[in-house]
């Protein structure tokens, strides 16, 4: 519960660890270690990551966040997204359900080694933050001509 306030995500490109995390959820513990920056599933905001030969795309499902208040930074291949989401607190109202996350969040994503920190673009639409990080030219697959 408390981990959702300050959370880390890592080793995302390691299938083995991803399976380990899922097993962890199923059986409540595994003999093998988790990624050092990995967090439990269910942490706010949820993240999806995709990759193409040209870029890596990170999607943050964070509804109701002021995009200008987000602190997005990239150091080498470590992407850090910090922000705050405040839910409306109505004075004197009776709350029946309070399931939505209220407060600061912090997520760290380990990207592949070949990303270019100088070419990062971020956009926010309908509550989804999309961060696109370009890959370095040298890392792209190339067709080699036979002489």
């Amino acid at each position: 519960m408390f981990t959702s306030l300050s959370s880390f995500e890592g080793s995302l490109f390691d299938d083995f660890r991803r399976v380990a995390r899922e097993m962890d959820q199923l059986f409540g513990g595994t003999p093998w270690p988790n990624g050092i920056r990995a967090v439990a599933r269910g942490t706010f905001p949820p993240i999806n990551i995709g990759s193409t030969p040209n870029q890596v795309d990170v999607y943050l499902f964070a509804a109701g966040v002021d995009p200008n208040s987000l602190d997005i930074s990239i150091q080498q291949n470590l992407l850090t997204i910090k922000g705050e989401r405040r839910t409306t607190a109505v004075e004197g109202a009776t709350y029946y359900r309070k399931e939505r996350v209220d407060g600061a969040f912090h997520r760290v994503v380990t990207l592949p080694e070949d990303v270019d920190p100088d070419h990062v673009e971020a956009s926010y639409r309908d509550g989804v933050l999309h961060v696109a990080i370009r890959r370095r030219e040298a890392a792209k697959p190339r067709q080699i001509q036979v002489q």
Partner: protein, 131 residues
């Protein structure tokens, strides 16, 4: 803590679901009541106005939406917390709520639905006149 329990009990079921379409996200909600009515707020990131349906009848409320996230062509999923694009949640209502007067707004993926109480159920202040 209840949230954590819910997640673990739902996980095995979610893994059994073989098709992507069969999975449905149950969006988190806040529900609160004041003297004049009830407010429901739901997190529906990725859902635009066109792809959201709020169905309200005499005794039930159903929220349904589909997230639309443009992705680059040929993208391969590397990691996914969100494994469905379909949101669904419903509630039963009580008779003092006036569904006809309900108002819904969607901003940055948050649905805010305000359902006022019928006039006769709203608390009235009774003035005392000095005779």
């Amino acid at each position: 803590m209840s949230e954590a329990i819910e997640v673990t009990t739902q996980q095995p079921k979610a893994l059994q679901e073989s098709t992507e379409a069969a999975r449905v996200i149950r969006p988190p909600v806040d529900i609160f009541e004041d003297d004049a009515g009830i407010t429901v707020q739901a997190d529906l990131p990725g859902v635009s106005k066109e792809r959201l349906s709020v169905h309200l009848d005499k005794d039930s409320l159903a929220i349904e939406g589909t997230a639309e996230i443009p992705v680059p062509e040929g993208m391969q999923s590397v990691y996914a917390d969100i494994r469905s694009t379909h949101y669904q949640r419903s509630f039963s209502l009580s008779s003092e709520l006036d569904g006809d007067q309900a108002e819904a707004t969607l901003k940055d993926g948050i649905l805010t639905l305000r359902i006022p109480k019928r006039a006769q159920y709203q608390p009235r202040k009774i003035e005392i006149r000095v005779g």
